[in-house]
Amino acid sequence: MTAPLLAGVLALAALPAAQADDKAATPATPKKKISGVELYAIHCNRCHPERYPVEFDQRQWQTYMLHMRVRANLPAEQAREILKYLQEEAGY
């Protein structure tokens, strides 16, 4: 029971390196990337009323989004896109 679990964890920890190798081997193909504002609309309203970007400043959003990345278990890339949108719209 422990061995497969440990193997899975190690495989996940090694994912960034494997992904970097893949990028080097195959040329990137353009794909429609979902935007930060779309991800904001998809994720944030699932559990609570949406918080407006102007409610916090850019630094506060950075802290808030790290909290939400952990709490909602969001993919890191999606959390970064949402943060980028919130910081751009925060205005200060």
Binding site: L12, E38, R46, C47, P75, Q78
Partner: protein, 443 residues
């Protein structure tokens, strides 16, 4: 320039006069004319003397001015050198940027509730005043410390449950965990961690819940535990779809029996094993959650999850406590939501054998703004309905039907009202009806 012109003019005048002298000399010069000319030359000589004096004074003034310019230049050079020195010292001892100070990485979020309600057989009363701050401190882009508290006011009571004078404030730690994002796919959470048994503890408790109380069946699960968790999410495609995962170890439930070794049914203590002295039992529990989140367009999504935990709970290590939770959440547009959990737990006991408390809850809600009418007050309302049941496996079974509303004064200030009908029987049966009003503020 003017002085020099005057001098040249006087000299030219003198020369002209000199040229005139021979001409006149050749003729007969009257004494009167000679005297006049002599007087004129004398005056010109005086004028030249005055001009020389003025020129000398001007030269003196020019020298003084040149000295002052030199001093000013020296002062400017000194100031420039001082500025350079100051800039170098700032490189070594950089002044703090207000936007990067530690206090700016510190943030308080959370919620507060005030509740007024009545249940069958009781008088209507303010039943809850709760302040639940969450302190966040972000050390850098990957490390966060977060701690949540529940501060409530309670009537005093004697050990046997009878009333006692006065009231007391209860401060309880809901969770306190250090989050370290190891990479994009793994995050380590350690401390008093919220347990991912379903999603309720992490994403629906407090003001996030659209009904003023918790589903009954959540009483059979611990909300948090001392331990460590690895979690992460794998995005699937580019549509926002993802698979999320979490595995953890935690101290797990323990026996509250004062006599070590006994593990009767009533001794199960879901949140009591916090690891301080004495350590109730050595082996921690293990658990995890696996979920799939599928959005097909913005505000339209489905999440399905399965989670569980198992481990010893008795001090003599003879009995296990285990739980399995199935959870689902569905959004059909920005106005409709349905979610729920099925929870089954099992634990062995010394006195009653194996028990399996279980139950479920299903909750739906609809925001009347979805009717797209120009109704300013109605548009701020959300209707909520919930069905939940609970079987404690010791003879008490409860069905509960709840209807209610949420009025949104803003996105953070909510006024909720709920009415509950209960069908409950057994030794721990609940009152048949209850209503409550709650004002919630999330910050």
């Amino acid at each position: 320039m003017k002085i020099r012109s005057l001098i040249l003019g006087a000299a030219a005048g003198g020369c002209a006069a000199g040229m005139l002298v021979p001409a006149t000399g050749s003729a007969a010069v009257s004494e009167e004319a000679f005297n006049a000319l002599s007087d004129m030359v004398s005056k010109q000589g005086q004028a030249l003397e005055e001009l020389k004096k003025t020129h000398e004074q001007d030269q003196l003034v020019i020298q003084q001015l040149q000295q002052q310019v030199g001093q000013t230049s020296q002062l400017a050079t000194n100031a420039e050198q001082k500025a350079e020195a100051a800039a170098q010292s700032q490189t070594v001892y950089q002044a703090p940027n207000p936007a990067q100070t530690t206090t700016h990485n510190f943030q308080v979020i959370g919620d507060a509730e005030v509740q007024f309600g009545k249940s069958t057989g009781q008088n209507p009363t303010f039943v809850l005043a709760d302040f639940a701050p969450i302190f966040l401190f972000r050390a850098n882009d990957n490390i966060l410390f977060e701690a949540g508290f529940d501060i409530t006011l309670n009537n005093n009571a004697n050990a046997d449950g009878t009333r006692a004078p006065g009231s007391s404030t209860t401060v309880s730690l809901s969770f306190a965990q250090l989050d370290y994002c190891l990479n994009d796919y793994l995050t380590l959470c350690a401390g008093d961690i919220l347990l991912p048994l379903g999603t309720y503890s992490e994403r629906a408790a407090g003001w996030l819940n659209k009904i003023g109380d918790d589903p009954l069946v959540r009483d059979w699960l611990p909300g948090s535990g001392i331990g460590a968790r690895l979690q992460g999410a794998l995005p699937v495609g580019q549509s926002g779809q993802m698979v999320t995962y979490a595995v953890y170890v935690a101290n797990g439930p323990s026996s509250g029996n004062p006599t070590n070794g006994f593990a009767n049914a009533g001794d199960l203590d879901l949140g009591g094993n916090v690891g301080d002295t004495p350590n109730w039992h050595a082996n921690p529990s293990g658990g995890g959650r696996l979920a799939w989140f599928i959005p097909w367009k913005v505000h339209y999504d489905l999440e399905l999850g399965v989670s569980g935990q198992t481990g010893e709970w008795s001090d003599n290590r003879t009995h296990l406590w285990s739980a399995c939770v199935l959870d689902a959440a569905l959004h059909l547009g920005p106005y409709f939501e349905a979610k729920g959990e099925y929870i089954n737990t099992w634990f062995g006991t010394d006195d009653l054998g194996n028990l399996d408390p279980h139950g479920l809850w299903v909750q739906t809600s609809y925001k009347l703004a979805g009717l797209k009418r120009d109704w300013p007050v109605i548009n701020n309302l959300e209707l909520v309905a919930r069905y939940d049941n609970s079987d404690d496996a010791q003879g008490t079974y409860t069905d509960r039907y709840t209807v209610g509303y949420v009025y949104y004064f803003s996105n953070t200030l909510l006024f909720e009202g709920d009415y509950e009908f209960l069908k409950s029987h057994g030794p721990n049966a609940l009152p048949p009806q209850m209503w409550m009003l709650q004002l919630s503020y999330g910050f």
